[in-house]
Structures are given as C-alpha cells and as structure tokens.
C-alpha cells in the first residue's frame, strides 16, 4: 500500500510522463529513489499551534467540536440547540462537581468575584532526574533545537537569510526603507527601486550586493553562581472532570445511547453587547476567553481611503499609560474570579513601539500610505508564571504566562489566553556551566545562529549585555511519541543594553542552562555529519566559535564557585 506521499509523487510523475513519455523508462529508478528519500523528508508540515493562533487572530476560535462530533451528520441549524442543551447540562454538572473551577454565575459585573479559578494555583511535584527524557531528542540532530520556540515575534529571533540571525532581531533594513505599500503605482515602484539602489545597504563598489544587519552581543561582567544541575519544569495537563452526557436527553434523541462519552471541550457564548466566548478545554486544563465577534463593534471593517488615513486607526497618542492598561486587565480578572496569586506583576507588551518607527512613512520616504502609521488596537498584558521565585520568559526574553489583551479603543478586555492549571512536575538535569559556551551563545543571540564572519553580507552591530539573572524559559519538548509538551527550563536572561534608537526587537538574550539544550545548532550538525556538513556553498563546517570570534568569547569571565 503506497503512502499518500508516494501517491502524490506518482501523480506528479504521471504528469511528467504525459509531457515527456521518454521519462517512463526511468520510472522504476524514480520510484525507488522516492522511497529512499521519503525517509529523509524535511519537515514542511505547518505547525498546528501556528495555524490555530493565526486562525484565532483572524477569525475566532474554531467552532465547538465536542457536542458536534457526536452527531456529525446533523445539519448546523440542528446542531446549535443540541450543543446548547448539552453544554447547559454539562455546565450544571461542573458547577456541582467543580464548584471552584470557574465562576459562571454570581458576582455582578460591578462586584468583584471572590470565587476564583481554584485550579490555577501552583503546585510542583518532584520526579527523578532526567525524568522527562532527553530534552533535545526530537528524532534527529538537525531538528533538535527546532522545538524550542525561538521566535520572539514577526521577523525576530529565528534564523534569517544566509547565516542565521538570532541576533538580527528586526529584519528591517533601514528606517527609511519602509516596505512598499500594497497596490503601489508603477511610479512608486520605480522610486522604491531607486531608493533601494541608493541605500547604504549596497556595498560601495559592489553593484547588486547587499548587507544585512546582525547583532553581536557581548558581556564582560560576572556570571551568577551556576549549579551543576538544574530543575526543569513540565506542566502536567490536569484533566478537569466535568461529568458525562450519559443521561442527557435532548428532546429528539438520547445522547446516553452512545455510552461511555466524555466531554472534552466546550464553548460558552455570553449574550448581549460586548459579549465573550469562553472556551474550556477540559483535557488540557485550559480556558481561553475571547470577545464574541458578533457582539462587538468592528470599526476596522470600514474601508480605508487610498493613500490616506483609515478613520478607525489608532494613533500612538491613543495608547494609555501602563497603569491604565493593567488596571483594566486586573479588574476583568477580579470580576471573573481568576486568581493572579501564582503570577508575577503584570507587564505591558510595548514592543510594537520598536517596530513602529520603521513602519511609519518618514519625511522624504516613498511610503505615504497613512495606513502604516499605526498604533495597535489592542495591548497585551502578561502576568508571568513564577515558580520557586523564578519568573518565566519566552525565548525572546519577554515575560511568559497568563496573557490578557486589552482593547485601547473600547477600554475593555478582548481576550484572556494561557489561563491554565498550574500543576508542574520538576526533574533535575545536568546544567550548563561552561562560561565560554554561555557567552558564545549569548554573543550570537541564541543557539541557532552560526558564528560570525562567515557571510560577507552581514553587517555586525555590537550590543552590550547587562548583568544576567537566572529565570525560567518557556520551551517545547517533543516526546518520544511525537507529542509536544511545554517545559520551563532555567536560563540566563541577559538584558540588552539599548542606547539610542534600535530596531532590535528583543529586550534580552536567553541562554538555556540545561546542557542538552544549550548546544549551538552548528555544532550539532557537525557531529551529525561527521564534521563535513556544509555551512556555506562549497565550504565545510566552520571551526568552533572560540576561534572565529575570540574577541567575544575570550577571556571567559569568572564563574563564582557553587557554595
């Protein structure tokens, strides 16, 4: 039985044969080669988390599937009342069985609710050393670190063209080089091309060549005390019991007839204007709250004037101070009984303001499209997870935890994400204590980027790093059965010293302190390919960073001995 992939390839081969029948005589060779090479297929499957996240951003959460999945042949008009009845029944069951889960009723909108989400209080259970398996094991050396969420945001963190770019942060060439607006006229395109040609990015005397910016970070202080082993934390998906539909009758059929059914997810929709949808995933132990698209105004649906401002667009001056934004978020959490006890102080994400100058049409620049002079409609507030006194950050160095989005226009919360049970297991792993390697990784911004000096197109910008602190870094670990699970690993967080205007999107450089996660990718590739992996066309693997960039990695600073 051929795999679907092989069938697809055969279909393409048939297509080729139709055009060139002479290829048929090589058919066996072609198919044999395909079979061999299928085993080494690259990962081109779109990340399901990315798809879900983008869908949410664009559309709203996917429709409720739990009740629907029981009745796949029913038409939508019938399914809605069925779902509603089912959910009502189950929520009633939940209120009985889990009175502390989530207060759905009681507590008026103006009255703070004191019945909090009981399951989001933190617990940590210790398990044996290396209890989560090989954290770097994902089936192949080249894929190891790909499971670590390296991308801070659009354009940042991940490898860029050519030789990586953990340090390229914002891949914006220059402030004046605002992207060409969609629908630009031919004259605008010509002018754009001319500006491109005139920019300093073109190396003098080298028509057609280009450079890109890459940050090189250095730290010349002392590293904190580093232990020989560190505790890694894995969130335990706490399944929330919500009873069964076994005895539920919905008027025209008996759901109990299916037997042994279990509610896994459901969505509640709040009526009235400015309503919310509350999505509860009982398996994952997670609740997400989103504005109900149908009951909120949508000024963004108004058409924009070509080459002019959009009436609905927010300006920078519309964005209030952090205290106002966190106040709105705090009030919402309190009103709905969501405890903040296990989280640190809220942090408002203002990273958009780093991007904004580079998107704005500057005087004399080509882009006159006012649509790019934006300020976001919403601001994100993050309440970072805290475990054993350590604060969690994502791999870009931004706080990680309960996320609340506030509409600047409406002064209301539009969504709450990552509200989840906080039951963790901890397990000891060998720690990275090699100061030289730590600073090597830090200098390049992450474990993904190649050493400096391999690409003549890179233009290095030096940045200083401030004194690091030991924090937790959110990461993903692929289990042996291919499932992804969230882990929090100790890491050094080096704040980036930003003097003057910069397009460096990140605030900090993160270096994981778990030994098996802290191997630079190029060294893994070297091992995997016996030292012969191509790092550049026609060249062999590069020497270790200590020899390529000694100014940054040597001398190693003192590491205070463990007491």
């Amino acid at each position: 039985m051929p795999t679907p992939s092989l069938e697809r390839v055969r279909a393409v081969l048939d297509d080729l044969y139709a055009i060139d029948p002479a290829l048929r005589e090589y058919g066996t060779d072609l198919e044999d080669a395909v079979r061999t090479l299928l085993a080494s297929k690259p990962d081109v499957d779109v990340n399901s988390q990315f798809v879900a996240s983008l869908r949410k951003k664009l559309i709203q959460p996917a429709p409720v599937r739990t009740s629907f999945s029981l009745m796949p042949k029913f038409s939508l008009p019938m399914m809605i009342p069925v779902a509603a009845v089912g959910v009502i029944a189950v929520v009633a069951a939940m209120v009985v069985t889990q009175p502390g889960l989530l207060r759905m009723n009681g507590g008026s909108p103006s009255q703070p609710n004191t019945n909090t989400l009981a399951l989001n209080s933190l617990t940590v259970t210790k398990v044996g050393a290396n209890g989560f398996g090989n954290l770097a094991h994902n089936g192949g050396a080249g894929e190891d670190a790909s499971m670590i969420s390296a991308r801070p945001q659009s354009g940042g963190g991940g490898p860029a063209y050519g030789m990586g770019g953990g340090g390229t942060a914002m891949a914006v060439p220059a402030p004046a080089m605002a992207p060409l607006a969609d629908g630009a006229t031919e004259e605008q395109e010509a002018e754009y091309a001319k500006r491109m040609a005139n920019t300093s990015m073109i190396a003098p005397g080298e028509p057609g060549s280009y450079t890109y910016e890459r940050f090189r970070y250095s730290y010349d202080g002392t590293l904190p005390e580093l232990a020989s082993s560190v505790d890694v934390f894995r969130r335990v998906k706490q399944s929330i019991s919500a009873g069964s539909l076994a005895n539920t009758s919905i008027g025209f059929m008996n759901l109990g007839s299916f037997g042994n059914t279990k509610l896994q997810q459901f969505t509640l929709t709040q009526g009235g204007s400015y309503g919310y949808q509350i999505y509860v995933d009982l398996n994952e132990g997670m609740v997400n709250i989103n504005q109900d698209w149908n009951s909120w105004p949508h000024p963004e649906a108004l058409p924009c004037v070509p080459e002019g401002p959009c009436g609905y667009q927010m300006e920078s001056s519309d964005v209030p101070e952090d205290g106002v934004i966190t106040g709105i978020a705090d009030a919402f959490l309190s009103e709905h009984g969501i405890s903040k006890d296990s989280y640190g102080a809220p942090v408002v994400d203002r990273r958009w303001s780093i991007v904004q100058p580079y998107m704005r049409g500057t005087p004399g620049a080509l882009t006159t499209d006012m649509r790019v002079r934006w300020a976001p409609d919403t601001m994100n507030v993050v309440y970072p997870v805290q475990i054993n006194g350590m604060t969690a950050y994502d791999s870009s160095g931004f706080p990680y935890g309960l996320s609340v989005t506030v509409s600047i226009r409406e002064k209301k919360v539009t969504s709450v994400w990552n509200l989840m049970t906080l039951q963790y297991e901890s397990s000891a792993y060998d720690a990275l204590t090699d100061a030289k390697l730590i600073l090597d990784i830090a200098s390049r911004g992450d474990v993904y980027s190649a050493p400096f000096g391999q690409d003549s197109a890179e233009r290095i910008i030096d940045r200083k790093l401030g004194e690091p602190t030991i924090v937790l870094m959110q990461s993903w670990h692929q289990t042996s059965n291919g499932m992804g699970e969230e882990i929090l690993v100790p890491a050094l967080r080096f704040p980036i010293v930003k003097d003057g205007e910069t397009n460096d999107y990140r605030d900090a450089v993160m270096v994981p302190l778990v030994k098996e996660l802290a191997q630079p990718i190029y060294t893994i590739m070297e091992k995997g390919m016996g030292g012969g992996v191509l790092m550049n066309q026609g060249t062999t693997a590069t020497p270790p960073p200590a020899t390529t960039d000694p100014a940054v990695v040597a001398p190693a600073p003192a590491v205070m001995p463990k007491q």
Partner: protein
C-alpha cells in the same frame, strides 16, 4: 454583525482552513525558513481578510486569489530583505542551502535543486515551481501569473526538457525531493 458580514466571515474561515497549509508551504518552499514562512503566511491571510470584501468569485477561485496575495507578499519581503535581487526574481525565488539551517539532508537536496533551477529562465522556473512544489494546475498557474494555460504548459515542458538535456532525467526528481511530505 450584519448577516452579510457573518456569511463573509464564515466563507473566509472556510478559505483559511482549506488553504493555510498550502500557503505556508508556498512560502516555506521558497524560503526554507519556518519562522519567515509563518510570518509571510500570517501577512498573506491578514491582507486577504482586509480585502475579502473585494474578492469576486466570478473572476477566479479563492485559491488562486490567495496564491496571488502570497506571491506579492513574498516579493515585497524579498525586496525588503534583499534589495539587490531583481524585482522580478522574488516570485521564483530558489532557497539556497544557506536558508536551510536545521536540516542537513534538506540542505543538500536544496542545493542540488537550486543548481538545477538556475538553468531555467525565470518564467520557466516559476511555472516549474508552481507545478511541482505547489501542485497547482496549469489553469491555476495561468490565472495566477497572467499567462495563458497553453503558455504555462509550454514553459513547464520546455523547462523540463532543458533539465533533462542538461542534467539527465533523475534531475527532475531532485526537484521533487525537498518537498515531498506526507
């Protein structure tokens, strides 16, 4: 939300669900960089949503419409990051081995594919890529590139003939290898 908007919303959701993986692959095949492919996929659908009002199904399929937006998004992105590249080259961009940071085997295959594709004219290259990598029909390629269906077939055929003459029949397979997925 008025009923029309609601219906539009539903239609867009369906288009998203059906095409998001294909649009992601379109970008990934040309960049071989997961993060940038995701970024450009996001941009593609954000633009699509902004303009969904203007989409006219009587003038073409939503599939081709999305690919066209993806193509323009890619071109803009490559122009922005690689201003030295010919403006017309972005759509048939060939990712280099350097783009493939985390998969040595894919990197090698990509280098071979790159060497082959460079033998083609830009027009042939784009058609070959759209046909083999994105699995678009000739009708879709024609609609997307503004060429006729027969011209698209001709470009594809000539492209393959060039490859076969210069590199042998297995060369064609090499074009497929980096992009086979289950």
């Amino acid at each position: 939300m008025e009923p029309g908007k609601s219906a539009q919303h539903t239609a867009f959701a369906a288009a998203y669900d059906e095409h998001v993986a294909r649009i992601y692959r379109y970008h990934y095949y040309r960049l071989h960089n997961r993060e940038r492919a995701e970024d450009l996929t996001s941009q593609t659908f954000l633009k699509a949503w902004e303009r969904f009002d203007s989409f006219d199904s009587s003038k073409g399929t939503v599939s081709v419409w999305l690919y066209r937006i993806a193509r323009n998004t890619l071109i803009d992105d490559v122009r922005r990051l690689h201003p030295s590249e010919d403006l017309g080259d972005a759509a048939e961009r060939i990712p280099s081995g350097e783009d493939v940071m985390n998969n040595a085997i894919a990197r090698e295959a990509m280098e071979r594919a790159r060497a082959l594709l460079e033998r083609l004219t830009p027009e042939q290259r784009e058609v070959v890529q759209l046909r083999l990598w994105d699995e678009l029909s000739y009708a879709e390629i024609a609609e997307m590139t503004g060429k006729s269906e027969s011209a698209s077939k001709m470009a594809f055929s000539r492209g393959l003939a060039t490859l076969r003459k210069q590199a042998g029949p297995l060369a064609i397979l090499l074009l497929l290898i980096p992009f086979i997925h289950s």
